[in-house]
Symmetry: C3
Subunit: 318 residues, 3 copies
């Protein structure tokens, strides 16, 4: 594994899950692996879990982590080839990337889509330019369309919690939100669950909230939320803005908020969310505060996901 | 000691002072104590001394410190139970705290009061919710009503400087300021000096600047500043906004600014201030630049205070 | 070497270049040197290369680096002696500096000029006050008028690239920009190249862009850019605002942008720039993307420059 951007960067998902769970039981076993290795954590957008869990993972591996808030401590980057830079962007990625590549052994980056232009966001220009020009392994801390460390964590968590012989039924359900959010988490979760293949996977959302089929292909799409939730073992709750009517909020229907009534239709399902969650908008307090919620476990597992990925990259580049 | 929020978290003040002074003479003696321990430093407000001295203390103890500026690198937290989160707050403390608790061994937090609602500020909702939900030791880097690391430092400094057999006379005097400031430092200093019991403690301030008796009980209150300063060995200068007429500035009387004329009434007193100080508003240049000022010593001692507190918590949780 | 502010702080430039190149071939050879040493990196302005390369250098030397964004995580400092601090500045450098001096072994600071008042900027009040009151070695990460780590890097890079017996011809050429920039890089490059003495040094710029003679004395000034570039081995491209008509933009003449046509006049010169660069404003894409450009090499060498300087200071203060 050289980069970690999408599920296809991972040769064997279950092997990586196993690696993460070994770290969970023995966090410091590879503390020598990262000695004299520097990792850059570049943030173009806010982050709590991703930022902190990745930093903790680097500590566990004995690496030197250097955080840089590009948006606050630096300046605006230019990504367009041939740009005449007489506007607000101060530095071209073609010039910044090789410098970062010279300073670090691994570079992690967090960036959000603007949700103004689908083609632009879905081209993943930023992270692709970074891969092209940095010359070192790149790890996505969430890009315009995907959030691979989150999805990997989600699979670790499902693997850890579900101990039956059969495949679990996993339902991704859309939920309301007050702001237009990226499709990243939903795209990425779909991509990973489909590639993993160890679940019966159903996606439910209002009409006009269909995701890019590139990511969902293989999943069942069901527009009736209650029907979708029937017998679910895991319910992943997440809002996203419309992909077809790009970046727009087309529904604020609070019936889609996951409550105890919804949970009753399931097989006493475990409830998942990537956090931060808008309480009593996306999910009700009663669900989040119940024993069915495993959102804290998910967030805690972010450390082991990051540690397994970084360890894999360090091992391959050593 | 599990948490460090107020003086009552400390079983033996003098023992903790001794521990701090041992670190001052031998900073790296316990560098192995913090190996593989992670400390989160969470800032909801600006900080210079507290931030840097705590980081230096963590280095001395061999811990991995991870700083997170919640207000700039993260988002707004919700603290109210049952809130319908359709407003500006992005994440509930009930969800964020267990995550932070999973990532760190100790969590330090800095937050200021809004000074809009006395009951709200004095309920210390934020830090209490954090203690309730994080499940790990919490260290206050200043909360809505108290600043315990500062006050502990102040007692270390007085102990270090004053070598006579008798109790020193310590005077806390209000000073003017151009902005409404919290009562934290004054509350906390009063609480600690009273609990310590090794000083004759006088508080002087204009009428209507009385502090919460919960903290001041045991001290003499004197409205005549010059009378209060009589024979003082230590003068602690600090502004605070009104507690009774909550958060308001009721006096800008520059006679309360501490000058050489005031110092002349004292027993050649050492002058203390927690910094940052507004020169020639709270204290005159001549006093700050004189040999009587021990404000730099106070600030330097912040490292040893933090180191003693963190060491104590590490020892108790190992 | 105690401080690193200007070229005269360096007793032997070539010895320091040699030290840097040794670190480049063996980055971790002095990892024990910085054990239990703390370095503060204080930023009053944005920075990418300087910030990250200095942090990497501290890792290589085994130091604990603590970054503080004074402008974002702290507050406004006052520098004027005797100020009545009833305005927007919160803390006087006289009070902050000794505190920083108590917390750190070395203090690095980045600050920009306001470009409003030449005398003020050229007095270097901030960094001089810091030296005066901090009591520990101060390293400039760019000040109001100089950028010594950049210039030292530039000499390392020229030394590394140019292997002929003769002196190289080095041309510093002004280039257009859309914003008024400081004279720091141009001042500092001139100062260092002149002190180094191992180059034929020509400066070219439009009339009214003359730099302070204090720094340029010894160089040839040529107002005809093409004539200046004749037979150049190195072309250093940089914009600066007017020194005489202080801080003003007096030319936006795009003929001064360095293009392939300009390069043709040179001895197949290597092209240098400190970055960030405004592509197709200061330098054309064709030049920056050509084999003549050594801007990435320059940026990469920032690590070894910082490491040599910090190592020198550590050695002298141990």
């Amino acid at each position: 594994m050289k980069n970690f951007i999408a599920v296809n960067d991972v040769p064997d998902i279950n092997a990586l899950v196993k690696k993460a769970l070994v770290y969970k039981s023995d966090p410091f076993k590879d503390k020598a692996l990262g000695a004299n290795k520097r990792i850059g954590l570049l943030f173009l957008n806010p982050s709590l879990r991703t930022r902190l869990s990745t930093q903790v993972a680097t500590c566990n591996l004995g690496m030197d982590a250097i955080v840089f808030n590009m948006d606050k401590e630096g300046w605006k980057l230019e990504f367009e080839d041939g740009a005449i830079m007489s506007g607000s962007s101060v530095e071209h990625i073609k010039d910044a990337a090789p410098v970062l590549g010279a300073y670090f052994d691994i570079l992690c980056i967090r960036t959000f889509p603007l949700l103004l232009n689908k083609e632009e966001d879905y081209s993943e220009l930023l992270i692709n330019q970074l891969i092209k020009y940095a010359g070192i392994p790149i790890v996505s801390l969430e890009s315009s369309t995907l959030h691979p460390l989150q999805s990997f964590t989600d699979i670790i968590t499902i693997s850890e919690v579900f101990n039956e012989k059969r495949k679990p039924k996993v339902v991704l359900t859309w939920a309301p939100h007050i702001k237009p959010l990226p499709q990243c988490v939903a795209n990425s979760f779909s991509q990973w669950i489909n590639a993993w293949g160890n679940a019966d996977f159903v996606i439910t959302h209002p009409h006009n909230y269909g995701l890019d089929e590139k990511f969902t292909k293989g999943a069942s799409i069901e527009y009736n939320q209650l029907k979708a939730l029937q017998d679910a073992d895991f319910v992943y709750v997440k809002n996203w803005s419309s992909y077809t009517n790009y970046g727009k909020i087309l529904s604020e229907d609070s019936n889609w908020m996951l409550t105890q009534a919804h949970l009753n239709a399931t097989n006493n399902a475990k409830v998942m969310h990537c956090l931060p969650v808008r309480r009593n908008v996306e999910l009700s307090d009663e669900v989040l505060d119940s024993a069915n919620s495993i959102v804290s476990l998910q967030a805690a597992n972010r450390v082991w996901a990051a540690q397994a990925v970084l360890s894999e990259i360090l091992t391959n580049t050593n």
